[in-house]
C-alpha cells in the first residue's frame, strides 16, 4: 500500500506538482490521468525520489520512506519504468534486465530472468544483443520487463503503452494484470484510454499539477471528470514564473 501526502515539486519558478495526495492499493492497478504537462511524470519521479520535493510524505506499507533515497526505495520494493524507456543502449538486453535486479542474489536474478523470458519469448531470442539496436517498441517492452525484474511491491509505470503495437499492448496489459493479481500495487500513467479502462480499478485525475478528481474509472468517465481534465489542458505548461 502506497500513500502519498501533499507532494509538491517545483523546478525553479515552475511548480509542476502541487500538494498531490494519492494512494495505491496492493493487488490493484491504479491510474493517474491527465493532460500533457499536467504533472503525471513529475508525480512518479517525486514518489521515486528522482526530483527534489519541496513537501510531501511517502508511506509504503505503513513505513514512512520520505527521507529515503532512490536506492533505499528500490530496496523497499519500489520500482519505476520511466518515460522514454532509458535502456542502457550498449549493454545487452540480458544485462539491462539484470541491472533491474541490482542488489539481489544470483539465484533470484536467474529466476526472475526466466519469468521474463517465459512471458516475452522474443526477448530471450535476442538477449545477447545490445539493447540500443532494438526498435522503439521492442525497447519499451524491455524497459517494462526491467522494472519488473526487482519483483517490486509497488511499480510505477509512465506511459508503458507508448510505441507498442496493439498486440504488444495486450501482452503488457496481461503482464500488469498478472503481477497485480499476485499482490503488487501498480500505479499507471497512461494516455491510452482503452488500456486504462481495461486495467485500472480506480484512478486519480491530475490537472495543472493538482489532483482534481478520484474514483473508479467507470465513475470518472461517466461523470466526465476525465474529459474535464483534458479540457483544462494547455500545450503551454502552466508558467507560474512570469
Amino acid at each position: 500500500m502506497l500513500t502519498v501526502e501533499d507532494l509538491t515539486v517545483a523546478f525553479g519558478p515552475t511548480t509542476a506538482v502541487r500538494g498531490v495526495t494519492l494512494h495505491a492499493a496492493p493487488g490493484t492497478v491504479t491510474g493517474i490521468l491527465g493532460a500533457n504537462g499536467a504533472g503525471k511524470s513529475t508525480t512518479l519521479l517525486g514518489i521515486h525520489g528522482r526530483v527534489p520535493r519541496s513537501s510531501g510524505r511517502i508511506v509504503l506499507d505503513g513505513q514512512d520512506v520520505t527521507g529515503h533515497d532512490t536506492r533505499a526505495l528500490v530496496r523497499a520494493g519500489l520500482a519505476l519504468c520511466p518515460e522514454n524507456r532509458r535502456l542502457f543502449p550498449g549493454l545487452t538486453i540480458e544485462d539491462n534486465l539484470l541491472v533491474g535486479a541490482h542488489g539481489q542474489g544470483r539465484k533470484v536474478r536467474r529466476q526472475r530472468l526466466r519469468g521474463i523470458y517465459d512471458r516475452f519469448g522474443w526477448v530471450h531470442a535476442r538477449r545477447a544483443e545490445p539493447a540500443g539496436r532494438l526498435s522503439g517498441g521492442q525497447q519499451q517492452t524491455v524497459a517494462i520487463a526491467r522494472a519488473l525484474m526487482s519483483d517490486p511491491r509497488l511499480v510505477l509505470l509512465d506511459e508503458p503503452s507508448s510505441g507498442l503495437s496493439p498486440v504488444a499492448v495486450d501482452e503488457v496489459g496481461e503482464a500488469l494484470r498478472d503481477i497485480a493479481r499476485a499482490g503488487t500495487a501498480v500505479l499507471l500513467v497512461e494516455q491510452n484510454v482503452r488500456l486504462v479502462r481495461q486495467l485500472c480499478s480506480t484512478a486519480w485525475v491530475i490537472a495543472h499539477g493538482e489532483i482534481t478528481a478520484h474514483g473508479t474509472v467507470a465513475e470518472l468517465f461517466a461523470a466526465g471528470a476525465v474529459s474535464d481534465a483534458y479540457l483544462g489542458k494547455a500545450t503551454v505548461p502552466p508558467d507560474s514564473g512570469s
Binding site: L87, F88, L91, V99, H102, R146, S150
Partner: protein, 286 residues
C-alpha cells in the same frame, strides 16, 4: 623482427594498463582523465620513497599501488564529482588536477629523474634470438594479471554490470537503485590501482620523474579512442595494435617519429570506424 614484435607487445601491455583506467573512468563519468598521468607519477614516487626508506621492493610496490588508488579516488571525490553533469567543464578540471599532481611531485622530489630498483632488474631471459629483460617480463605479467582480474570483475559480477550501466545512462541507473556515486569511486579506485601497477611496471625501465607519464598518457588516450571510448576489451585490443604498430614503424621507418605511426593508425581506424573499433555506443538515429 620477432624482437620488434615482442617490444611492441611490451609497449602494448603498458598502454593497455593505462588506457583501461582511462576508459573505465571515461565510461562511468565521461571525463577525459588527464590527471591520470599525475596519479601514475605519484604512485611511482611513493614506491621510490618507500624503497628509499628501506622497504623491500614488494612492500614498496604495494605502497605505490595503494597511493595511486588513494590519489585517484581523491581526484574524484574532491573535483570530478562536482562537474559530473557538466561534461564540457571536465577537461578544465582535468587539466587543473594534472597541474596540481605533477607539480606536487615536482615540489616534493625535484625535477631530476630518480631510479626505481627492482629485484629483477638484471634478470635476463633468452628465447632463441629474442632477449627478454626481467623488468619487461614483469610488466607483461602484471598487465595480464590485472587486466584479467578486471575483465572478470566487469563481465562476471553485478558490480561490473552496474558500473557499465552507470557508464551508459547514470540517471536510468539511479532510477533502478544503483548507487552511482559508489560506482564513480569504484571506477577511480580501479583506475588508480591500474595506474599504480603501470607505474611500478615501467618506472624501473625508465626513471621516476614528474613528467614520466606524459607520453604514455597520450598514447593511452589514442588507445582509448582506437578501441572505442568506454570499451575495456577495445582498449586492450587497441593497446596491442598501437604498441605493435609503433614498434614496427620505429624499427623499420624512423624511431624519431614513433608516435606518428600511432597517429597514422588512428587516422586509418577513425576514417573507417568513426567511433572506434569496439564502440559501446549502440544508440540509433531513429
Amino acid at each position: 623482427m620477432s624482437q620488434v614484435l615482442v617490444n611492441g607487445l611490451f609497449l602494448g601491455c603498458l598502454f593497455a594498463v593505462v588506457a583501461v583506467g582511462l576508459t573505465l573512468v571515461y565510461g562511468v563519468m565521461e571525463v577525459p582523465n588527464f590527471a591520470h598521468a599525475g596519479v601514475i607519477v605519484l604512485a611511482a614516487y611513493a614506491t621510490w620513497a618507500a624503497g628509499d626508506a628501506g622497504a623491500p621492493f614488494a612492500l614498496a610496490a604495494l605502497a605505490g599501488i595503494a597511493c595511486g588508488a588513494v590519489v585517484s579516488v581523491l581526484t574524484e571525490v574532491l573535483a570530478y564529482r562536482w562537474v559530473v553533469d557538466k561534461p564540457a567543464a571536465s577537461p578544465a578540471v582535468a587539466l587543473g588536477l594534472l597541474l596540481i599532481l605533477q607539480n606536487t611531485a615536482l615540489r616534493g622530489y625535484g625535477g631530476a629523474g630518480r631510479s626505481l630498483d627492482t629485484p629483477y632488474d638484471t634478470v635476463l631471459f633468452r628465447i632463441g634470438p629474442v632477449t627478454l629483460p626481467g623488468v619487461k617480463v614483469a610488466l607483461v605479467l602484471l598487465a595480464v594479471l590485472s587486466l584479467a582480474a578486471l575483465h572478470l570483475l566487469l563481465s562476471r559480477t553485478s558490480l561490473g554490470r552496474a558500473m557499465r550501466a552507470v557508464a551508459q545512462d547514470r540517471e536510468a541507473a539511479a532510477m533502478l537503485g544503483v548507487p552511482i556515486r559508489r560506482q564513480y569511486t569504484l571506477a577511480f579506485l580501479i583506475a588508480g590501482l591500474l595506474g599504480g601497477v603501470a607505474a611500478i611496471a615501467y618506472a624501473p625501465t625508465f626513471q621516476v620523474s614528474p613528467y614520466m607519464a606524459d607520453d604514455v598518457l597520450l598514447s593511452a588516450f589514442v588507445v582509448v579512442v582506437l578501441g572505442g571510448l568506454g570499451s575495456v576489451r577495445g582498449a586492450v585490443t587497441g593497446a596491442l595494435v598501437l604498441g605493435v604498430a609503433e614498434s614496427l614503424g620505429s624499427a623499420y621507418v624512423s624511431s624519431a617519429y614513433q608516435s606518428a605511426f600511432g597517429f597514422l593508425l588512428l587516422v586509418l581506424v577513425l576514417v573507417r570506424w568513426p567511433s572506434g573499433l569496439r564502440s559501446t555506443d549502440a544508440r540509433r538515429v531513429a
